[in-house]
Amino acid sequence: MPLIRRPAAAELRIRAMGTETHLVVVGGPSRLLAQARRRIDDLERRWSRFRPDSEVSRLNAGSDRPTPTSVETRLLVRCALLGWRRTNGLFDPTVHDALLAAGYDRDLAAVRRNPGRRVGPFRPAPGCAGVAVDDAAGTVTLAEGVRLDPGGIGKGLAADLVVAELLDAGAAGACVNMGGDLRVAGAPPDGHGWRVALPAGAHDPAGTLHLAGGAVATSSTHQRRWTAGGMQQHHLIDPASGVPTPQARTATVVADTGWQAEVAAKVAVLAAPGDIDRLLDPLAVAALITDRHCTRRWGATDRFLEAQVRAAT
């Protein structure tokens, strides 16, 4: 029997963009993991809302003036605008001030250690109607009073960019998992597809998604929570009210790209039950959506999911 020699896989777990990040690189030069880490650091320096010198912070401070930005940041804003338009504003990157009102004004670990005593005022998110990207001038312009929170879409897009750049640099396959916003492409480590475990305890059945390529994102009102003003808060803001959504829901979405998966996961949590199909259709190919009552499998989920078989008791 001929031996099949597979390219070696290397992995790295780091903390980046305020979350646990997992990198897997199959084949290619040994420098690729370090290259990916530097690129993620570079994107975090550009997109963090907690760094006063980041491009996003300068954008938010510039308000309605054209602000010079890199091609990466213009791409980020363009993707966020697309998400906002495709979801009729339910995905809204302008919830920055609403997150501050809910007490999420620093890195989440710092918020949890030293929570704010007051919350509010809560106001509807202003929306993206006045946001403009000018690639010829290399600028982004926000409308008066509009501030962006790159949050999850930044993580999803970072996964997209870094995976593409890893394959471009010679990797046979790559996985970039930014705390649950992940993208996989190319050859998996063992020839059996990329296997992504569903979040523990989130969906019924539990199981594993099998992807030849694509992206997965999870959003949940049960995670990324903190206490502020004496109340439990979370990061999934209903843009219409500016407060954390009262719905208890977890959504795991499979989509073509990380940023699309993130947009779809957010709307799957925020949408009224009757709107989920219409909003997911242009963004996702599969989703598991769990609320207090049950887990619903949406789209082509059964083509990706290998459910865990429960042992008989």
């Binding site: 010829a136 492409a185 699309q260």
Partner: protein, 102 residues
């Protein structure tokens, strides 16, 4: 740079001389122009050439995005961007990674 538009069944855009970021930007631009998630992007060697074979894609948008990307001055040989696809299953294998709420 030349561009052409073919209302063929296959959805494919070929580019050369683009960075991964710019290519993803092009995907975003195509999304704005109405392309579906099945659109794929590939890169061929040589001078920049944009071939849009999806009738739903606005060629002008694709070309403008490509020009902008070339000004960014980066090159790639191949950028694999495609639709999410399931993989074959069989036997027990541990997961490579886990998703969680971001």
């Amino acid at each position: 740079m030349t561009s052409q538009r073919r209302p063929a069944a296959a959805s494919r855009v070929l580019l050369a001389g683009l960075s991964a970021a710019a290519t993803l930007g092009l995907v975003a631009a195509m999304g704005a122009a109405g392309a579906t998630s099945s659109t794929t992007v590939g890169v061929s060697a040589g001078t920049l050439r944009v071939v849009v074979t999806d009738a739903r894609i606005d060629t002008n948008v694709a070309v403008a995005a490509a020009r902008q990307a070339v000004r960014a001055g980066r090159t790639v040989a191949q950028v694999p961007i495609g639709a999410a696809q399931p993989a074959a299953r069989g036997g027990f294998h541990a997961a490579h990674t886990q998703t969680r709420s971001s």
